[in-house]
């Protein structure tokens, strides 16, 4: 392979890394917009820490677990060792002009690590929105660190790391299951252990708890869509012109169809133009297309996105009915649409087996759910995972951070002097 092609391939993966990075800003803004004002600092803090924790744990543990190497091909678990590095033989091959010595010349080992690390951090972020407004900060950070260090890479290894699913023709292009449904299943487990926000479900019925800023939420969704071009486009694992541009088209069409069908269905249900549903519909379409963006036709992409969009309002209402309190809709978007997208590959892509799509999808979700449930439960009975009722009423910003997200009335002399 020529130096030129290697360089452009690698460049695209790095640009895609930047795009996936900015998804963390997207998640932060989306989640901040969908929680109440009094919990805004808390959600921002969690998101800022998760990207840091995600990168660090993936560096030390995750990468080695997810890509254990050929020795573990077809297996369930393996470990290649701590840290990330440039293998000496790759460096030598590069020096000798053999640019396809690693990853078919798609990228360098460094690129590989950082691109994958961004994905890992993304997966952990999915949980933070679902458990917002009542989880203890410390418990959440421990959960997120262990989850991203261990659970995510293990199921990732099953497919992307050359494990047992990869051998059986399971197809999950950029992670409808491996990233989104894994995160969504963890979110569901966490919410089940944690319980609903105070006042959400009572004998009087379901109390809607609107988020505090629709501009932040909308901004988050646009940024996520933007980043998704790197998430899906980068998953081509080279700058292959036809391949990447095709993925851009399917991804865009699915997102657009998701918006329109979430709108239509939510309008049919509640006779209003519900922005929060359209925003979630876009994300649903994006999650849905993620598994098959490389193999389904544009028309199929439209269908996948449309169905994902239509699922969103139904799923959101359904989860509320069964008292799964998920302030940002993470379970609907990432878990439900992740499953749909993975199965859809079996429907729309001629050469993929629906059965193996289902087996892959559900075994991965089962693992993530059980792991997360057990971990959350262990934290619950040890250090405790939920803030006190009083703290929840006050808001986590004050009780956990002694800080407010917005200082509204600076002009009123509301602040005293530093006491320490």
């Amino acid at each position: 392979m020529s130096l030129e092609l290697f360089t452009v391939n690698n460049l695209w993966l790095l640009v895609a890394t930047c795009l996936v990075f900015i998804m963390h800003l997207g998640f932060s803004m989306l989640e901040a917009g969908f929680v109440r004002k009094k919990n805004t600092v808390n959600i921002l803090f969690k998101n800022a820490m998760i990207i840091a924790i995600g990168l660090l744990t993936y560096f030390f543990v995750g990468w080695g677990l997810m890509y254990p190497g050929d020795d573990f091909a077809g297996g369930f678990f393996g470990f290649a060792g701590f840290g990330a590095s440039m293998p000496a033989e790759v460096a030598e091959a590069y020096a000798a002009g053999q640019y396809d010595a690693y990853a078919d010349g798609g990228y360098t080992p460094w690129t590989d690590f950082i691109f994958q690390a961004m994905f890992a951090a993304t997966c952990a972020t999915i949980v933070s929105g679902a458990v917002a407004e009542r989880i203890k900060l410390g418990a959440f950070l421990i959960f997120a660190a262990i989850f991203v260090a261990i659970a995510y890479p293990i199921t990732g290894m099953w497919q992307w790391g050359g494990g047992w699913l990869a051998e059986n023709g399971f197809h999950d292009f950029a992670g409808s299951t491996l990233v989104h449904a894994v995160g969504g299943a963890a979110a569901l487990a966490a919410v089940m252990v944690l319980g609903a926000r105070k006042g959400k479900y009572s004998e009087k019925g379901i109390k809607p708890i609107p988020g505090h800023s629709m501009p932040l939420a909308a901004m988050g969704v646009f940024l996520l869509w933007f980043g998704w071009y790197g998430f899906n486009g980068g998953s081509v694992l080279s700058a292959d012109a036809v391949g990447v541009s095709f993925v851009f088209v399917t991804t865009s069409l699915a997102a657009a169809a998701g918006a329109v069908f979430a709108f239509i269905v939510s309008y049919a249900i509640s006779k209003t133009h519900d922005l929060s549903m359209v925003l979630n519909g876009i994300l649903g379409g994006l999650v849905g297309i993620t598994a098959g963006a490389d193999v389904v036709s544009p028309m199929a992409a439209l269908a996948i996105g449309a169905i994902a969009g239509a699922i969103i309002p139904l799923s959101v209402v359904m989860f509320d009915k069964i008292k799964i309190d998920d302030p940002v809709g993470a379970t609907s978007v990432h878990l439900v649409c992740g499953i749909w997208g993975t199965l859809a590959v079996g429907i729309f892509a001629a050469d993929k087996s629906f059965m193996w799509q289902a087996i892959g999808c559900f075994s991965i979700i089962a693992f993530s759910f059980v792991f997360s449930y057990a971990l959350m439960y262990a934290l619950k009975v040890t250090i405790g995972i939920r803030v006190s009722e009083e703290e929840e009423i006050k808001g986590l910003d004050i009780s956990e951070h002694e800080m407010e997200a917005y200082q509204e009335k600076e002009s009123s002399p509301v602040f005293g002097y530093a006491v320490e």
């Binding site: 379901i206 708890i209 509640s270 209402v317 509320d320």
Partner: protein, 112 residues
């Protein structure tokens, strides 16, 4: 001297202010309040659930005035602040024991 508190609709403020100005009342204090009353609040939709806000945003005008002007002011507010729909609000009049203008220390009627 009296203090008049009038709870009115946001949408009537312009008319009320103009009506007050015409009878010579240009000074007052305005507060944003929430009214719980006969009128139902707006209904909202969020993520598939319809719900009611149980209050309605209203404005409260506080007007200090001398006794003889009270009736004129009340009349002006009633006629300019009325839509005839439930929720137009209330006017309450209080006796004032004392008024002082901070700038000058003037008291009573001179302070208004």
């Amino acid at each position: 001297m009296k203090k008049i508190e009038a709870i009115i609709r946001l949408s009537c403020f312009d008319k009320v202010r103009d009506a007050l100005a015409q009878i010579g009342v240009k000074f007052f204090t305005l507060k944003d309040v929430k009214g719980f009353g006969l009128q139902k609040g707006e209904s909202f939709v969020y993520r598939g659930s319809v719900y009611d806000s149980d209050y309605i945003a209203r404005l409260q005008l506080d007007i200090l005035t001398t006794d003889e002007k009270v009736d004129a002011i009340v009349d002006a507010i009633v006629s300019s602040g009325r839509t005839g729909e439930i929720g137009d609000g209330k006017i309450t009049v209080f006796d004032v024991a004392q008024v002082v203008r901070i700038r000058t220390g003037e008291e009573a009627a001179a302070a208004i």
